[in-house]
Amino acid sequence: MSKHATGWILTTSMAAFFAVVAPAEDDAWVKRDLFTVITLQGLPCGEVVSVTTRGDNDHVASCKDGNRYHVFLNAQGRVVVERQ
């Protein structure tokens, strides 16, 4: 196999790897951020297991203990956490 083909395959593999890994890291970062906000408000949440994004700065977080919270920024620029 030529050097060019090897390099091409290696580059493609790396790109595919990072394309998969980067969103996973973003997802974990959002989960952690939402968990921190929820606990800062004094609301119970063992761990955020899934996040549904509704829009910019608008998420629904599902906690491990079954609670679901709507976390968003309101018009006054405040973080609001509503239990659903």
Partner: protein, 334 residues
């Protein structure tokens, strides 16, 4: 070709009948060709050398040995125990290496022991098993190719590196400075970032520069004992709220929602302080202090793992921020 056994060693005679001419050494008893024990004669020799230095020896070499030798240089434990300087088991004497900063004899002792441990390795690597100074350590051509020899050849550079590091480590050991009397201890003063080091002079020096020489004071003036407030004032760094705010905005230790949530809580607390000072809020300063401490703890808990420098800065500015919040005039300026 005849196999001889003489003085506990095996030889093969290439010219039988001639007696003394051209004999090749095969191996020592218990050497690499010993099928019964399977022991390597280099391992046996190294273990023999190590056991002869038992009181001061440490197993293996590498970082553990460096740490031990550095410790020995510092504490003089090995020399103080009266351990005798070991003789070289193989007859080969390692050259003395004088190490700066260490006691010469102790350093020679440690160096020689390490060199003796590494000697079979160096000999096997550099001379291909031929050592005229030590005929008992001769190796046949077949033993050069065995696995133990290859392993020893691999670690020879490591041994060299250990020796270099050992020299550096011992040269870095400095004797402990003599304890200064308590009256002459240098005062610790906090320096603000904008203040240059040349502007900072110890209080004693400043006092000496400004004081006029008195002819003969009858009684020396009594030293004023530093109060707790003076100590706290000296230890508290200057507060830079703008810098702290910018660092909080720029930190990657917390996410966007967390930052906005924290800012909301800080704004709420500042509004409570304003209302308290304007007597619009019926609460006590102690209650506000409790809320303030809780908020600072939240911030510190969020930052201390991923941005410890910022957490330390906030913790150090805690009392200064409280002084602003609790003072209505200062609070009105921010």
């Amino acid at each position: 070709m005849v196999l001889h056994h003489r003085e506990g060693r095996f030889f093969v005679g290439l010219r039988p009948g001639s007696g003394t001419v051209r004999t090749a050494h095969l191996a020592e008893p218990g050497g690499p060709h010993n099928a019964r024990t399977g022991a390597n004669h280099f391992e046996t020799r190294r273990r023999r050398v190590r056991d002869s230095h038992k009181p001061c020896a440490t197993p293996g070499f590498g970082w553990i040995k460096i740490a031990w030798i550095q410790h020995a240089c510092r504490t003089r434990a090995c020399w103080a125990r009266g351990d005798r300087e070991p003789e070289s088991a193989g007859g080969a004497r390692a050259s003395r290496v004088r190490l700066p900063g260490c006691d010469r004899h102790r350093a020679d002792h440690s160096q020689r022991r390490l060199l003796q441990s590494a000697w079979p390795v160096v000999r096997g690597h550099g001379q291909h098993g031929r050592d005229s100074a030590n005929p008992r350590g001769r190796m046949s051509g077949s033993s050069v190719a065995n696995g133990a020899q290859a392993r020893l050849v691999r670690i020879a550079p490591v041994v060299g590196l250990v020796l270099v590091l050992l020299t550096e480590a011992c040269s870095g050991v400095k004797p402990a400075p003599p304890p200064s009397p308590p009256g002459t201890a240098a005062p610790q003063t906090a320096v603000s970032p904008g203040q240059s080091a040349t502007n900072v002079a110890p209080p004693d020096a400043r006092a000496r520069a400004t004081a006029t020489p008195s002819p003969a004071p009858a009684t020396p003036p009594a030293k004023k004992e530093p109060t707790a407030q003076d100590v706290a004032k000296r230890k508290t760094p200057p507060l830079d709220l703008a810098s702290l705010e910018q660092r909080l905005k720029d930190t990657k230790a917390v996410g966007l929602f967390t930052k906005i949530g924290l800012k909301n809580q800080v704004d709420d607390l500042v509004n409570q302080f304003r209302a308290f000072h304007q007597e619009k809020l019926k609460t006590t300063l102690a209650e506000l202090r409790r809320q303030y401490d809780l908020l600072v703890l939240k911030v510190l808990a969020l930052l201390q793992d991923n941005d410890p420098a910022l957490a330390a800065a906030i913790a150090a500015s805690r009392e200064a921020i409280w002084a602003i919040l609790s003072d209505p005039t200062k609070l009105a300026t921010i």
